[in-house]
Amino acid sequence: MSINLKRRVLLKGSLAASTLGVAAGAGLLAPQAVLAAWNTDAFKAKTEADAMTAMFGATEAEASGAIDVSAPEIAENGAVVPIKVETSLKAESISIVAPNNPSPMVSSFALGEGAQSFASTRIKMGKTGDVIAVVKADGKLYSARKSVKVTIGGCGG
């Protein structure tokens, strides 16, 4: 009798635990409050123009002196190239494009309320070329570029 009772308790306990597990799992799978969905077309695009069209619906971005792109002049290791983008424009998004990469659209930061117009990360570069920062502000596109000389490419094997 007492053994049976314990069995009940144990079963009940494990059932409760598994329900909790399912709930936690569902919570993780629930869509997060994202500001921008991952743009498959833009990131899969093979040319700068296609990537720009998929991301912004336009290929032209006005060159702007208000955008500051920091990148090394010579990157000894193309697998890790630090990039920093800063602008006095009120940016809605900052995207980093490497036209010579197999997939030029490298990353894009969607900046919501409370975010400063700043983004920095480390990217891979297959070969020497420009890094373009595309800033969307007031519904318009602005860009600035910096040339990076890559000694050892970071895309191929």
């Binding site: 994202v34 500001l35 697998a79 990469n101 490298v106 990353s107 920095s120 990217i123 970071g154 094997g157």
Partner: protein
Amino acid sequence: MANSMKIRAKSKDGVADVKVLITHPMEGGGRKDPKTGNDIEPHFIQDVVFEVNGKAVITASLSGGVSKNPYLNCKVAANAGDTLKVSWTDNKGETDTAEAAVG
């Protein structure tokens, strides 16, 4: 993928400098395994969401063109004591979340 992230957030004059380091292979695909000659399948983080006190402030979309073990640095309006939450999701549906107090 627990503890895949290191977060540092330091506030000065109402703006927090947020630095995140994530442990992830960031394999873009298109490479071949030098030993077997087989294609290495893509495995990279797609979305990183930054939340301050439960409100999404920045969504960073990444590709396989971002370096292995990605480092992200951004700046958000936040004061010391605010809660910063960072969550990432990769192309295989793996995900991780971490929280840090703004210092």
